[in-house]
Structures are given as C-alpha cells and as structure tokens.
Symmetry: C2
Subunit: 390 residues, 2 copies
C-alpha cells in the first residue's frame, strides 16, 4: 500500500486481524508508534528509541482491546518525537499529510493517526494525549478525538512521557464510529441523555482568534439548544496563562525523568526543538515545581467546582486552525505556547474532553470541545453524537 499521506512509520506495514464477531468487526484502526504491537519495534518517532528498547512481546492494552473487539490493525503511525511536539512535524520521518488542509500541519503529537483517519486509510486510530496530542490534531484535521479522564484507561504498553498527564485517546472521522470505539474502550454504553447544564468558557473563547469564535458560533448554538441550562463563565479566573505555565513546568520535569536515562546512555539524535524541550525540563527548579503543584491543586478544585456531574463546559479546542508547514522555530514556538493555553487544563486536572468537528475557517477545520467531570467520558461522546444528529 503506497503511503502518499506519510501517515505510517517506515518499514513493513503491520496487519493484524481483529477477533471475528466482536462489536468493532469490520472496522480498521491504526496505532500511534507509541503503542506496543507484539513483534514490531515501538519507534516513538525517533530513530534512536527502537534500537535502545527491546521489540515488545505483547500488545499494548489499547491495541489488544480494539483487536479483541474485532477491529483490524492496519498500521503504526508517525508521532512527534517521543511525543514531544504539538504541530505534528517530525524531522526524521516527515510531516504527515493533512487531507483537510494540504499546506498545513496535521497537529501532533498523534499526527500520523490523525492523517490516516482524515485520509480514510482507517476508521479509527489510537493516539495519546499528554498536553493536547489528540485534541490538537482532531481540531486541525476535522476529526472527532477524545482525551479520556486521566487514569481511567490502562496505559500498559504505551510509551510514557509525563505519567501524571498521559492518557490513551482515539480519533474517528464520523460520530457513529467514534461512539462505537468509545463504547468498547470505555466499557460503557454511550448515553443518549444530555447533561443538565452547559458552561460556555468565556476566557477560552476570548483567547481564540476572533474568526474561530465566529466559526464555532453555530455549533455552540446547537449545543445550547441540546442542553437546557446554559451560562457563560470564566474557566480559569487566575488565567489560562497561569495554568499553562504550571503545566509547562510539571510536564517537562516528568518528561526529563522519563527520558534522562535513555539520553545519558544513547545521546540520541533529536530535532533541536525536542532536545531543547527536554533540556529545559532538566533545568526547572524544585521551587518552580512546588509552585506548579499548588496551581495544579487549585485548578483541580476549580474544575470540581465548575463541573459537578451533569455539567459540561464548551470551548474552542485550539485558538486557531492548522498553521502552515515548515514555520521557523520561533513562530512554531509561539503557536505551541498558545495551543497549550487552551489544552493545559487536561494534563493539569485530568478532566476528559472530546473535540467535535463541524466548523471551518476558509476551509480549514476547527474543533469545538466539550469538557466534563472526571469519569464523564461517555456522556461527552454522547453529546458529540447528539450534536451531529441535532
């Protein structure tokens, strides 16, 4: 199979048939190259990861779950190096193609998974989301994508980055497939009942480009129609910027802890930007970490207050649609910083989030997200399905 969309890792293409007769029979899926597939090296988006780690003997939990449910694995997909990246450019394997916006990045780090689904190469694809890595490519490629409640799904056989933020997510092109996969992954029926209350996160909308706010208005309107009780409220009174700073303190410190032995032993080749992220993580002081830990506690409290069971929040998934490919480092760094301001609450507080496609700016997709209390994953998937139907 030729790979014009550059979604898949180089080398022999994986193909593992799903178990016959399962609830996902007939579906195909791809797995981000952070998930173990027995007998295939887990590359992690970097040429020096696989050679310093044994070829896995077992499938990752998420891969096994989908195979057991009948879905067929058709490939492993390119990821940003060791999942450290948000725009989806990989200096070693190239930038997966965004079928919805050919001159734009796909978003990352689940870049190949999003590219494969967007191009119709498979029905769904596994990604991981630590700081936005499912949500951002879902928004940029016009897909459904979920960051589940942190800690809900096992991360066995999934290459870690920052364990206190890492989650296993997935992407799909249509709401029905997305819900079918969600039901299997969450082990729960997707409810049709709608939440009782909707919060429109005014600070998150204010942080997005005006065109994004405008483009999302019809979807917000339909969401307001589905949920009886809607109100506008500030999500992060102390500032999304403060939350983002805390997440950008905690996550790099954990990432450095995850990768420092590998770096020490193998002096791996990395894109400069990735090496910089890792090195800056190694330089963060304990005092900064303590501050960030307090901000995390406060943010978790804020989310508990805002989102009791039955309440959801909506916000733009990203502050802008997919940027152009190949931007200089300082431009890409500025984009990353803004993206993280709208994504940081996930890694910081562990709340689940679903990004819903359906809007566009000049043809470029942009996602609307719904966020709920921990454990409300299935409800959010139900809202996404209802919004399509509504």
């Amino acid at each position: 199979m030729p790979d014009d969309i550059k979604a898949f890792v180089p080398g022999p293409r994986v193909h593992i048939e799903g178990r016959a007769g399962g609830p996902l029979a007939g579906l195909t899926f791809a797995a981000k190259d952070l998930f173990d597939v027995a007998g295939y090296p887990t590359g992690g988006g970097n040429p020096d990861w696989a050679r310093s780690n044994p070829v896995p003997m077992r499938h990752a939990w998420a891969v096994q779950r989908l195979l057991d449910a009948g879905a067929t694995l058709i490939g492993k997909t390119i990821t940003d190096e060791v999942s450290l990246g948000i725009v989806g450019e990989n200096a070693f394997y190239g930038t997966p193609f965004n079928s919805r916006a050919p001159d734009r990045v796909p978003g990352g780090s689940s870049s190949g998974s999003a590219a494969a689904v967007a191009a119709g190469q498979c029905d769904t694809a596994l990604g991981t989301d630590t700081g936005g890595s499912v949500r951002v490519p879902a928004s940029f490629c016009g897909l459904y994508g979920i960051r589940p409640t942190h800690g809900r799904l096992p991360v066995t056989g999934m290459m870690p980055q920052a364990p206190s933020s890492d989650t296993t997510g997935w992407l799909a092109h249509d709401a029905e497939t997305f819900a079918r996969v969600a039901s299997v992954m969450l082990g729960e029926t997707i409810p049709t009942a709608m939440p009782a209350r909707l919060i429109v996160a005014v600070d998150a909308f204010a942080f997005a480009d005006p065109e994004v706010v405008e483009a999302l208005q019809p979807m917000v309107g339909r969401l307001r129609a589905l949920v009886a009780n809607a109100r506008e409220e500030i999500m992060a009174p102390a500032g999304l910027t403060q939350w983002a700073r805390a997440q950008r303190t905690l996550q790099p410190v954990e990432a450095w802890a995850t990768f420092k032995d590998w770096i020490e032993c193998h002096n791996p080749r990395l894109a400069f930007s990735v090496a910089r992220n890792l090195l800056l993580g190694s330089m963060i002081s304990q005092a900064e970490c303590q501050w960030a830990g307090l901000v995390r506690q406060e943010a978790c409290g804020r989310m508990r207050y805002l989102l009791p069971p039955g309440t959801i929040l909506c916000m733009p998934t990203t502050p802008f649609p997919a940027p152009k490919r190949g931007e200089p480092l300082s431009i890409a760094g500025g984009q990353r910083d803004r993206l993280l301001c709208l994504c940081c609450h996930g890694g910081l507080t562990g709340v689940p989030q679903v990004s819903i496609p359906g809007a566009a700016i000049g043809g470029l997709p942009i996602g609307l997200s719904v966020v709920g209390s921990p454990g409300s994953d299935a409800m959010l998937v139900g809202v996404a399905a209802a919004l399509r139907d509504g």
Copy 2:
C-alpha cells in the same frame, strides 16, 4: 574504495589531482567536511547543514593551497557535528576508526581526518581547531598535528564555529610530511635552529593522569636535550580550570551566534549533546561574557610574558589517551571538560601549538605538545622534526 575505517563522508568520493610539479607533488590529502570543495556539498557533519547551504563554487583557501602545491585531494572526512565535539563520535555518520586504538574514539572534531591519516589512506589531512579539534585527535591517534597561530591562515571557505578561536590545521603521520605541508601552508621555510628556552608547564603536567606524565618523560628529556635552557613553571597561575571556564563561555556564545539562524529556520536534527552545547551557549549572560573577556585578556598577557620569541613551552596534549567508544553522556562530558582544560589556552590566547607523537600507555598513543608565541608556528614544526631526529 571501501571505507572500513569510516573516515570519509557518505556519497561519491572526491578526487582532485594536485597541480603537477609542486612542492607537495606525490602527496595525497583529505579535507574535513568543514572545508569547501567546489562542486561538492559541505556537510559539516550534520544531515541538515548541506541541504540548507548552497553547494560551494570555489575551494576553501586551505584546499586550494594544497592543490596548488601539488597534493591530490582524495576525500572529505567525517567531523563531529558542526565541529561541536571533542571525542570524535558522530551520531549520524558513525565514529571514525582509530587504527592505533581500535576500541577507542579517534578524538574530534577532526575525527575522520585523523582516522584517514592514521590508517594510511592519505599522507596528510586538513582539520580545524577551535577548542582542541586538531590537537586531541592528533594525541589520540598518534599523529603530528598543528593548531596554527589564530588569524595567521585564511579561513575562507571553512565553515565557522567560533571565529575568535577558529583555526585551520593539519595532521600527518610522519615528521617529514608534516614539515613539508607546514612549509607550504605557512609559506615559510621550516627552521632547523632550536629555540633558546624551554618551559615545562608543571600545572599542565600535574593535570594529566600520572601514567601520561610518566609516558611523556622520555620525550621531555629529549626536548630538554635539544633546548639549552629549560625551567619548570606554572602556565596558568589562576588555574587551567579558570581559563577553561572562560573559553567555555566565549566559544559557545560565538557558536550560538554562528548557528542560531540555521536552527531558527531548519530546526535541525542534532545529537542531544550537540543541541545542549548550542542551547547552553544561548543562555550565557552578558556579565559572564564580560568576565570571560577579561580572563582572555589576562591569559593573553600571561602567554606574552611566558613566551617571548625564542621560548617554547611543553605540556601533555591531552590529560589521558583515547577513551573507550560509546561512553554514556555524563562520562563523555567529564572527559570533555578535562580535555578542554589542557586545550583552552589555544582558543583563548591564539598561540600556536604542535602535538608530537612518540609516547604510548599500554599501546594507546599520547602526544606531547610544544607551544610558542604567536607567529612561531614554523619553529614549533622544526622542533617536532628535530625531536624525531634527535
């Protein structure tokens, strides 16, 4: 020609005949991949350098000089990435083979040049020396090597790193070839008269491993016999460590200035250690630079005081022989720091230095260096020749 010694850059091998009848007729040479050769990309030891720089239309000054003198160019050699490295390991192109110590590194950054000469693939090879990049591989591979007076030889067509320290040097297997090449490169007859005074740099010897001091004693004895008036003296009263710290402040700041636009535009792939060197260079404060500038002035004054014309200084080229290949990053970093303590005076003060082979520890070569006042390059080459004959 197969390249079992891994000295040469991948791709078609350069071959350019020297001008007939010149003083170097019959000699072959290789050029470190930092020197322009017309019609061939200058790779700089990194896969993302050549693609962001045009293929040169003219030879570098040093290449042209040797071709004009009749030497034939037979290849371009592997260098540490963008000349930032001292042990000679390149994560993209591999570690050139040290024929004198097969399980050891060749030293860098002129690693391939040293490997090619040590293996007898060519008579001489061009290298560059900013912080020790000719002297260290000369010591580790048992070769003659020179770091000329800073600013004496044109650096046209040579990829810069830290211009206030960059020099063009060369390596050779035997003293006669070394002197023949030196005469052409320096445009000067190599004198047979010996200097009047010899300083044995006691602090430099004290900094080396005791085995090194012992192994070099016979060579020091022969040098004392050649030079009438010898005395022991401290080279850096404030400490070689202080000089090294100053050099490790000034050099990375200049390297960052040299490469920052490339990094900004291309986000190049780099070994972690190289990216770290560059990034740390970007973080050095102006106050630290000012301090280092003062130390440089003081060190230059010290060298002028110690080394009036007719005086030379001898010291171990490196504090230990070639370390094992593939050491972890922290071990290699410690080795680098010690190497720089014995090499820093070159980049800091611009004095010329010749490393002379002739000693070994358990079969591993170690070089003795002679250092002179600016402009005394030919005298140092003459001392190296006399030491062989003596």
